[in-house]
């Protein structure tokens, strides 16, 4: 049969061009390829979409294979079905309309591309995204977003938290210690983000509470904050005497730099001290201090405080000088040399020698920094027994005043004489009688007491002389009476260098005698302090290379407890402000 296929093409101007093809065939095949009677060569059309048959009852379109999904008949998505004149068979982008056949043609069909298939270039362009600004969030949006987050997290919220919710009057009414110990963490305590560095160790317990120190915005941390706790900190110099603003009016924080982490908050630098002390007369004309720049190379010889007169309790500072060594006039009679005899020292009553060492008498104080005072009862009385009567060897005198000793002697001999039974050679019979029995007559009593008085006086003469008291003390006669003695008061300085700090516990590795020449000391007045060169053998100045670097504050305090407290300055400042 003959089939007329009329291809309609829409031109750009809207007019429609037609091209007729007359084909001869048994059935009319629809499809993309050239072997079809109805050629539909657009994307979206299969090789073979279906076949139009002419049957007895009329025309019938039969879809093929997968093409069924691609085909509509009169708008219905059915792959196969009868068609008649005017029916539209939709195949992909094409509409094929069954026309009234004319002429020789038994079937007439019009084919028109009615649904756009898209231009390849347009499709490619539409599919593609080739510029970052098309796919990324805008640079400005990112910038403003980041800025907003930063400003909110690190400025707005901390400000609200510090001066709004958590600050102001509510904060002022709190107890400072409670406030300090309050546990706070970021981001609740949002101002922690402003911390410029870790708080020093001793202050860490209130490190989470910025407003503990930073009381007012844009105002430096005030001294009142420091002296609230450090009430006992004193001036380096008396501000009434020395006009040295760099050490009397400077803020605490001008020296004590916080937020420096584990580094000490106290100044350690040698130049801080030597800037004044290298030429101390320039800043303090009337001073007795000598210039100093560095412990290792330029430090005056030690200038110990020694007792000048123990009775008058007068002291003097006398510089160590080999030619003119200071003396400690303690009124004691004692030699280290005798006690430290390497062969030992005879222990009374035991007929044996005991080798002593320093620790037998010098015991460290609790912290080990220094030494406890030597005490007769604890350290001497093992050997210095203070016994006085050979027939009563266990009886001891008190280590007390002349009066105590006198009373003790009188009491002992009086009691012995009246009780009787004394095994003393030259004593009268009444004293030697067997104790107990009848009571004494008046004559016997007087005789016994006369003996007791003599015995006490004799014993007093012995003990106040070199045999007991006089062994260590300077004892003098004050009159002609039997007990007219005086023991010179004893005074020993507890620290020769009170302005310096020395920790014995940190110097235990050299032996005591490496620094203190005690074994050769034959006089109680010897000041057994080593000269500075002994220290300098191990310690150098701040920049020492082959010595222990030691700055001024290794031994000396800056804030001196004999000067007024610095909190007075705060108080005065408040008065001036008010």
């Amino acid at each position: 049969m003959e089939v007329l296929v009329r291809y309609l093409t829409k031109k750009r101007d809207g007019a429609i061009a037609t091209r007729d093809a007359l084909v001869t065939c048994e059935t009319v095949r629809f499809g993309r390829s050239t072997d079809n009677e109805v050629e539909l060569p657009a994307p979206g059309v299969l090789l073979h979409e279906g076949v139009l048959h002419k049957r007895a009852g009329g025309l019938f379109f039969e879809g093929e294979g997968e093409g069924r999904n691609n085909v509509t008949i009169d708008g219905q998505p059915i792959a196969s079905g009868p068609v008649k004149i005017g029916s539209t068979i939709g195949v992909g982008p094409y509409d094929v309309i069954v026309l009234l056949p004319q002429g020789e043609a038994e079937i007439a069909l019009s084919v028109e591309l009615v649904r756009p298939v898209g231009d390849a270039l347009t499709t490619l362009r539409n599919n593609s995204v080739t510029r970052l600004e098309q796919s990324a969030i805008g640079k400005r949006s990112l910038g403003w977003g980041a800025l907003a987050v930063i400003v909110l997290a690190f400025l707005i919220w901390p400000l609200i938290e510090t001066y709004g919710i958590g600050g102001g009057d509510a904060a002022l009414s709190k107890n400072p210690i409670e406030m300090a110990l309050e546990t706070k963490t970021w981001p609740i305590a949002a101002d922690l983000a402003w911390v410029t560095g870790p708080v020093s160790g001793p202050h860490k317990f209130f490190a989470q509470n910025c407003s503990f120190c930073h009381e007012r915005p844009f105002v430096r941390v005030q001294d009142s904050v420091c002296t609230a706790c450090h009430a006992e900190i004193n001036f380096h110099v008396d501000p009434k005497v020395h006009d040295l603003p760099e050490v009397t009016t400077a803020l605490c924080q001008s020296c004590h730099k916080e937020h420096q982490g584990a580094a000490p908050i106290t100044r350690q630098d040698q130049t801080f001290c030597s800037s004044c002390h290298q030429d101390i007369e320039r800043v303090a004309g009337d001073t007795k201090l000598r210039d100093v720049t560095s412990f290792g190379t330029d430090h005056p010889e030690f200038n110990p405080t020694v007792v000048v007169d123990a009775a008058a309790k007068t002291f003097a500072r006398v510089r160590l000088d080999k030619a003119n060594w200071p003396t400690e006039n303690s009124n004691l009679t004692f030699t280290h040399k005798k006690h430290l005899n390497p062969q030992g020292i005879l222990v009374p009553g035991k007929q044996q020698r005991r080798v002593m060492d320093c620790a037998d008498c010098h015991t460290t104080d609790g912290g080990g920094t220094g030494y406890s005072p030597v005490v007769m009862e604890d350290h001497c009385s093992d050997c210095h027994l203070l016994n006085f009567e050979p027939t009563a060897p266990t009886r001891r005198l008190p280590h007390g005043s002349v009066e105590d000793v006198t009373n003790s002697l009188r009491e002992f001999y009086g009691d012995l004489a009246l009780r009787g039974g004394a095994d003393v050679e030259d004593a009268p019979a009444v004293v030697r009688r067997r104790p107990g029995g009848r009571s004494l007559s008046q004559e016997e009593r007087l005789e016994a007491l006369a003996w007791a008085d003599k015995a006490a006086r004799d014993a007093g003469a012995r003990v106040f002389s070199r045999s007991a008291c006089g062994t260590c003390h300077e004892v003098t006669r004050t009159g002609d009476g039997p007990f007219d003695y005086a023991v010179a008061p004893v005074l020993v300085v507890d620290r020769w260098l009170p302005k310096g700090r020395f920790d014995h516990s940190q110097h235990s590795s050299p032996g005591c005698v490496d620094c203190h020449a005690a074994p050769d000391s034959a006089k109680a007045t010897d000041v057994l302090l080593p000269q500075i060169e002994t220290c300098q053998a191990c310690h150098g100045g701040e920049a020492a290379v082959q010595r222990v670097p030691s700055t001024c504050v290794s031994c000396h305090d800056f804030h001196l407890d004999f000067h007024p407290p610095m909190r007075e300055r705060v108080r005065n400042a408040r008065v001036e402000d008010g």
Binding site: P43, L124, R131, L132, L147, F154, A193
Partner: protein, 276 residues
């Protein structure tokens, strides 16, 4: 232009930056502050002020480059200074910090500054390297023509595949409709499309072609040739997109980070005096 901003005015801005660095380093070495070196000493404040001034000047470049012919300095002065003074900040700001870093807004400002400089350094590298690679990749044709060529090849493929089985034609259709150039940020930067419909079509059609005989085999071979050429062009276009993306991407870090830095810097300065 790209290399000339580095040698501009006989390295004037390099010399200025080096002079600033030398002065800052010398001052840092000589300065003996109380405690550890930090931003709160006189040198710390000086270096910090210098850094802040440099940062604001560098950021102003973003405004200045949009205004033509304003001021005494040429845009090249700004660009050259931008590079060298920006890099000098790495040293000067580190000295300002006294090498003290922590988890706080101050180190945040420093970190943002380092990131801004890092992204800027990448930008400089990109401007030195990619424009040349991009023109080599483009060859003689302008990129617009290449797109038209690819589209033409899609049409050719339809024509060639018209009488080939549907399995081939469907691949050709996919290669036309599903081929994408670029896409998301990562896709643009990678310069590749592992799911490229054209590449898939090429590979599959090549396999199918071996099975065909006669007319179909000839058509399939022709199709493979055209698809191969198309894929090659697509690769070049994607490479071009990649270079363009690399030339642009650093600004997505450089500019937002700069804005964030200015904020953090302002907060840094504000808070150190608030909690003096």
């Amino acid at each position: 232009m790209h290399t000339s901003i580095l040698v501009f005015r006989n390295f004037r801005y390099l010399k200025i930056a080096l002079a600033l660095i030398v002065v800052a380093v010398l001052a840092y070495v000589i300065h003996d502050p109380l405690g550890r070196p930090n931003g709160g000493t006189w040198l710390g404040y000086s270096l910090g002020g210098l850094c802040a001034a440099i940062i604001v000047w560098l950021a102003w470049f973003g405004v200045r480059k949009r205004r033509y012919g304003v001021g005494k300095l040429l845009l090249e002065d700004w660009a050259s200074g931008h590079v060298y003074l920006g890099l000098s900040l790495l040293i000067i700001a580190t000295l300002h910090s006294g090498f003290q870093f922590g988890i706080n807004v101050h180190t945040l400002a420093y970190a943002l500054m380092v990131l801004v400089i890092g992204s800027g350094a990448f930008g400089l590298y990109a401007y030195m390297r990619y424009p040349r690679l991009r023109s080599i990749n483009r060859g003689e044709g302008a990129l617009g023509d290449v797109w038209a060529l690819v589209a033409g090849m899609s049409r050719d493929c339809y024509e060639i595949a018209r009488d080939l089985p549907d399995e081939v034609y469907r691949l050709v259709e996919d290669a036309d409709k599903e081929t994408r150039i670029g896409g998301g940020v990562w896709r643009q930067l990678s310069g590749r499309d592992p799911n490229c419909a054209s590449t898939r079509a090429l590979e599959e059609v090549r396999g199918m072609a071996e099975r065909y005989s006669g007319k179909d085999a000839d058509a399939a071979r022709r199709l493979v040739r055209v698809l191969a050429r198309k894929v090659e062009l697509l690769t070049r276009i994607r490479k071009d997109i990649q270079y363009k993306a690399l030339l642009d991407i650093w600004l997505y870090f450089h500019i937002p980070l700069t804005v964030a830095l200015l904020g953090a810097l302002a907060i840094h300065i504000f808070t150190v005096f608030l909690y003096w």
